[in-house]
Amino acid sequence: MSTAREEILGRIRHALDGSGARTADTAAGPVGMTGAPTPGSTAHDAMVERFVEVTADYRAVVQRCGPEQLAAHVAAALQAYGAGRVVIPPGLEQDWLSASEAEFVIDDDVSTEGLDRCDAVVTAASVGIAETGTIVLDHTADQGRRALTLVPDVHVCVIRESQVTPDVPGAIRLLRPAIEAHRALTWISGPSATSDIELNRIEGVHGPRHLHVIVVAG
């Protein structure tokens, strides 16, 4: 008796062999990839501005600031949502939190129920995509495991200008090493939303209902 695997592969060969289908893969040229502008240039700044606009379009809150204002912005954001108990990934830069009065819980395998009792999470990011207003997390130490940015209702996400790239194919290239290291990726474009009821867009179903993005210079 042949296994399902052998049989399916056999069926595929039966369908394709001798049918003229067997052409070699043609190499993909990335379509729609523009190349990132030099950091510090006007073009780069325009790209970051585009990232801010498009992200805000999803009804996320987006702010730009210099590194010296970052701690104040994080503190203000957490206060605005009334977040008292805030979970953070173990590798997050502690300076970012120095202006906040909130109680910070460093993730050390906090249970899902424990996360559910946290009001907010603060993380860094891996890549930002200007054309689509997307933040990609590769869940390294300053972003934490996936559950952290999923269960609490408020996600404050800090991204550096130098992490923003113009387009999707460019982001895919930047993310290959993370994928090859078997890291999971989460792409986030605005807060959780549904249009399932008469196509009315409603923010916030299961994921965080509030996404607050702080774009920091540098």
């Binding site: 399902a4 049989e7 399916i8 592969l9 056999g10 069926r11 595929i12 060969r13 039966h14 369908a15 394709l16 049918s19 289908a21 067997r22 893969d25 043609t26 993909a28 040229g29 990335p30 379509v31 729609g32 990839m33 379009d57 999803y58 899902t112 129920e113 559910d116 995509i129 054309e131 689509t132 869940h139 495991r145 996936r146 999923l150 999707v168 194919p169 895919i172 290959r176 994928i179 090859e180 078997h182 890291r183 999971a184 990726l185 989460t186 792409w187 986030i188 474009s189 605005g190 959780s192 939303a193 549904t194 399932d196 009821i197 008469e198 196509l199 916030g204 179903v205 299961h206 994921g207």
Partner: protein, 518 residues
């Protein structure tokens, strides 16, 4: 079980299993008739298809070279399909390297039993349980799984199989939840509950939620935000306690072993992240050759599907990620008729489909008939070509599907992977005619059989002279309709003709709700 040695016999690959729900269904026109008389459905459908269509047009218009993206999407899928065996083996290797277990399923039944057994194992059902199952009564109390919306699991009717084994499968996508609680079937790929309006949804939630978990809050109105909040609360307890999740995948990347799920609500992330065990049922056509190909598909799919620059959430995972998310990761690669579709050089194109639903939203027949009339989990133009190929055209519903189109060509123009649906429909129609004649049909029989349903009444309509002219020109050539070069120049002109007024189209439809004349 293998039936015959494949190497010598010129036999064809088997079709997929037509699951019980759809097996005895009447033909498309019969199924469409009640839907056409349902004003809520018609109103919702029209609003939905037009809204999404407009949003799509806008975000597609933003992209500098959309056509180049479409061409690249088709190229990538063709590359995957042309050497599908190699890409699947590569996918399998990379998944295994990343700690996933790969299973292969020849058909729906095999896929269901693999998943049921995996679930039983993870939930600690008694070892003998699966054998006792056929005997009916068991002492095992059963268990539950959470599910992310997945076409493949609908196709194999996995929920029913799980239920038969005493396992409750909770759909977690809001629309799927509405469908499931309403004991209903999905009607659209993207917005499966589009046939329900807010007051119907309120009623369903009010009546059903309490039976299966946390009840809807007292005094819930039909405000969409309140309904979404009720769903959030109802499902949250299920997410937090779930130990097993079942998903599909939008893409499976061969050269990295990565699976990709695009979603909006966060229910996908919940399922893909919180449980200990994750089982993904993935059609073998979901494979794309390389990671870089996602650069194209992550542009094509969200814009074509929801008409957004990007959907709110996408998860990409490669096997089991150490210390993050499910550690017991399974992937079930599903054939169920796909290798049959692969045999046909033209029909093979249908396997490029990325299930964006753009073709549904532009289809004048879908807009009026709704998704249920297609008698399959794959409705609309793509369903009309994919279902008869996956299941064969032996049942009444399947043989009528290729006729559920006006051949206007809008689906091809909308399709992000350039599937030539109109041409395939014509091809399938001639196959249905062949089947009835038991031999090769005369050119005219094929043409006229096809014409009898689509054009016969169509040309009586006011203001559709263009269509009638095209039809007579098309069939006046006295050649097999399947041999016509496509698009025929006459037809191209007809596609630009104004569509018939809605009222007369509807009355036309009503007149045709009886069986197609032979």
């Amino acid at each position: 079980m293998k039936k015959a040695a494949r190497s010598t016999a010129p036999e064809r690959n088997p079709v997929g299993i037509t699951t019980p729900t759809y097996l005895g269904m009447p033909k498309f026109p019969k199924l469409a008739a009640p839907e056409l008389r349902n004003p809520v459905l018609r109103h919702n459908l029209q609003m939905a298809t037009h809204t999404i269509r407009d949003k799509r047009a806008q975000v597609v218009g933003e992209v500098d070279d959309w056509e180049a993206l479409r061409v690249d999407g088709a190229r990538s899928k063709d590359a995957a399909l042309n050497n599908l065996d190699e890409h699947l083996e590569e996918l399998e290797r990379n998944l295994q390297k990343a700690g996933a277990t790969v299973h292969w399923a020849r058909d729906a039944e095999e896929a269901c039993s693999i998943v049921v057994e995996l679930v039983q194992e993870s939930l600690g059902a008694p070892a003998k349980y699966s054998e006792e199952r056929s005997g009916g009564e068991t002492s095992w109390g059963g268990g539950e799984v959470v599910k992310v919306k997945s076409m493949a699991t609908q196709e194999i009717e996995l929920n029913e199989a799980l239920e038969a084994a005493g396992i409750s499968a909770w759909e977690t996508d809001l629309a799927e939840l509405i469908v499931q609680l309403g004991h209903d079937r999905p009607s659209h790929i993207l917005v499966p509950a589009i046939h329900r309006n807010r007051s119907q949804i309120r009623e369903i939630f009010d009546r059903e939620m309490g039976k299966v978990g946390r009840p809807a809050p007292d005094g819930m109105t039909d405000e969409p935000a309140q309904l979404a909040e009720a769903a959030r609360q109802h499902l949250r307890e299920k997410f937090l306690r779930a130990r097993v999740a079942i998903s599909g995948a939008n893409f499976a990347v061969a050269d990295t072993g990565t699976l990709v799920v695009l979603e909006s609500e966060g229910n996908g992330r919940m399922c893909l992240t919180l449980p200990e065990t994750l089982i993904s049922v993935v059609g073998i056509e979901k494979v794309v050759p390389t990671w870089d190909d996602l650069g194209t598909f992550m542009q094509l799919l969200p814009r074509s599907s929801t008409g957004e620059r990007m959907n709110p959430y996408t998860t990409m995972w490669t096997g089991a990620t150490p210390d993050d998310g499910p550690q017991d990761v399974h992937v079930v690669l599903l054939d169920n008729g796909r290798t049959r579709v692969l045999e046909d050089e033209l029909g093979r194109q249908a396997l490029r489909c990325i299930r964006c639903s753009a073709c549904l939203n532009v289809c004048p027949v879908y807009e009026r008939a709704g998704g249920h009339a297609y008698g399959s989990v794959y409705p609309g133009p793509i369903g009309a070509v994919l279902t008869p190929q996956l299941r064969g055209t032996a049942s009444p519903i399947d043989e009528s599907l290729p006729y559920a189109s006006s051949l206007c060509g809008a689906c091809f123009d909308a399709c992000p992977v350039r599937i030539d649906i109109p041409r395939m429909l014509v091809e399938l129609r001639s196959q249905v005619v062949d089947q009835h004649r038991g031999g090769v049909p005369s050119a005219e029989a094929a043409g006229m059989r096809a014409a009898s349903w689509v054009f016969g009444n169509h040309k009586r309509l006011e203001g559709v002279q263009a269509g009638a002219a095209a039809a007579s020109r098309l069939f006046g050539k006295r050649t097999s309709i399947s041999q016509l070069p496509w698009p025929a120049s006459a037809w191209t002109q007809a596609r630009n003709a104004p569509t018939p007024p809605k009222e007369s189209f509807r009355s036309w439809w009503r007149r045709t709700h009886e069986e197609p004349r032979s």
